[in-house]
Point group: C2
Chain length 336, copies 2
């Protein structure tokens, strides 16, 4: 049964009893024994609400959560499926942007805006792009630390003194010390006159251009970081399968109201165990980047972060190409 | 010898005789027999100037051009190395953006801005993304036809009437009937106050939002379309090698002042011949998309364009990955 697409927040049973009745009537009608809900924070909120409702009313259906979000911000799991592949894609983009930038012998600043409104995991993954200590990204800013414009300009200034090309990775969610997003205003000048806020990347582009007068470009990786299925992490794909298998086993053994989680056992070799965790401790929490993963200056990640990230992007699944393009199964054909 | 990076326009011998003397002295000193210059329009202008200078002054060095530009806008060659891979990347992005968009059951418009200031080849390549007649891109606008805002809004309106998600591919270089670029103005609202023009994608995003009030997003593929070396066309790579080999053979046989070109012999099977063409007929021209490759409404490409494009993206070279990321040779290590 299709319950709607992502970003859907289920109302509480008090606010919308009819929906709950319909959902559980449908479960009964269709003889649904177990309901698996795959997603991020909003989806886990749904798992909490449905499993609590089922428990309170002694409904037989088991409700379990399976994590899946590139944001990597679910509590009590080492990481989430989707993140490793997005991290691999972002690091690849940063490496390619560096090779595109470094051939020009003029002072330039390239700002790459990466997804992450509240957590900086994806932006941190850009650090994996580095081939040695001289290559991009040269500065990394996450939303977990307040963003200071003067401090940022000083960071860029120091680098421009010693090198031609500076590449900056920045989370879309960076905010100043008062919690205001860093953004610029955009407006059409024609008769349709409309305006809106730009992202952090465009705002920093304008600031750098004004401050230093050098060549500046901002690149927003945009939705490609969550949909570039031609560049996946095999580790990520394997773990997604393991979490799905664990969910089925858990349902068969009678468990409900839990999310499947990944516990990391060792880093080298990288080993994990798949476990379950009570959904009420997961739903509506956000797992931010720990401050020990960010350097003191707030403009880079630490070796601890790199140790955490490295295993997650390993391995390349075989992608099926037809007529020169990757072939994907269409969700539209699966949902009736 | 490294003559500077791309986007460099060599002055004429009249304006800068010293540079020419230095270049040809260096050729003599280093016993350079042949000079191959790889690039797009600006580079072919350099080949013209250096080869004419050499001919006039009876310098023994042979100067030959090897085409390489994702813009695909060099005259007298069926296409240029770089284009096939960029086309494959753009079509892949459009397909992935469609799979990311079509899962949402709300009215939405996604505008993808693609490179091409004067020629629409890259934007046209987005059409390869289609899996059937319902999938993205639904509208395609190239700079070869004047862009009309009312006509564009009417095109979008008709589609929104019959489907949820509309994806538009648009060249950065679209202009109105008076030749003015379609753009919006962007400014910082803080003390650094600075403003500049946005791209076409952002401008159309604002227009659509104002006109229809639906969910709108603009995505600028940006420099990734020219540097995403993890997704290459094998056909493109093979032809680049063939053009390089032909250049060496031509130099050995004494030719100068020519560019290597690809002649297409047949489409199915796709066969080509590598030939040479006088540089003076190539330099400073721009090969635009023929009007027969664009539909009458100016909002899509024709089957003729697809027949032209299809062979160019075929085949996937093996990419070497290390630690989960593609490994690239660094130009910095080659240039001393």
């Amino acid at each position: 049964m299709y319950l709607g697409s992502c970003r859907y927040k289920l109302p509480s049973p008090t606010d919308d009893p009819a929906s709950y009745e319909k959902i559980f009537d449908t479960f009964e009608e269709m003889e649904v024994d177990s309901f698996f809900y795959i997603g991020g924070n909003d989806s886990m909120d749904t798992v909490l609400k449905l499993s609590s409702y089922a428990a309170e009313r002694h409904k037989p259906v088991k409700v379990l959560g399976i994590p899946k979000t590139i944001d990597n911000d679910l509590m009590h799991t080492d990481h989430t499926p989707g993140f490793g592949s997005a991290a691999k894609y972002i690091a690849t983009c940063l490496r390619e942007i560096w090779h595109d930038t470094m051939i020009y012998h003029v002072k330039s600043v390239t700002i790459v805006e990466i997804m992450g409104r509240d957590a900086g995991w994806l932006t941190a993954a850009s650090a994996l792009a580095r081939e040695d200590e001289t290559t991009a990204p040269h500065l990394i800013y996450l939303p977990e630390r307040p963003f200071s414009v003067p401090r940022f300009l000083s960071d860029v200034h120091h680098l421009l003194d010693v090198q031609d090309n500076v590449v900056v990775a920045v989370s879309e969610g960076i905010r100043d010390k008062d919690g205001a997003y860093i953004s610029a205003s955009v407006s059409t000048s024609d008769t349709f006159g409309h305006s809106q806020l730009s992202g952090a990347g465009k705002a920093l582009e304008l600031l750098v251009k004004e401050a230093f007068g050098v060549k500046v470009r901002s690149i927003e990786i945009n939705t490609l970081q969550r949909c570039a299925a031609h560049l996946l992490s095999q580790t990520d794909q394997n773990e997604a399968m393991q979490l799905g298998a664990k969910a089925v086993q858990s349902a068969v053994s009678g468990l409900s109201g839990h999310m499947m989680v990944i516990d990391r056992l060792t880093n080298d070799p990288y080993t994990t165990a798949i476990a379950t965790f009570p959904i009420e401790k997961i739903a509506n929490g956000v797992r931010s980047v720990p401050l020990s993963f960010i350097n003191n200056e707030g403009n880079d990640v630490t070796e601890e972060m790199l140790i955490y990230l490295r295993p997650l992007i390993l391995g390349e699944p075989v992608i099926h190409y037809e007529n020169g393009l990757p072939e994907y199964l269409s969700v539209a054909h699966l949902i009736k």
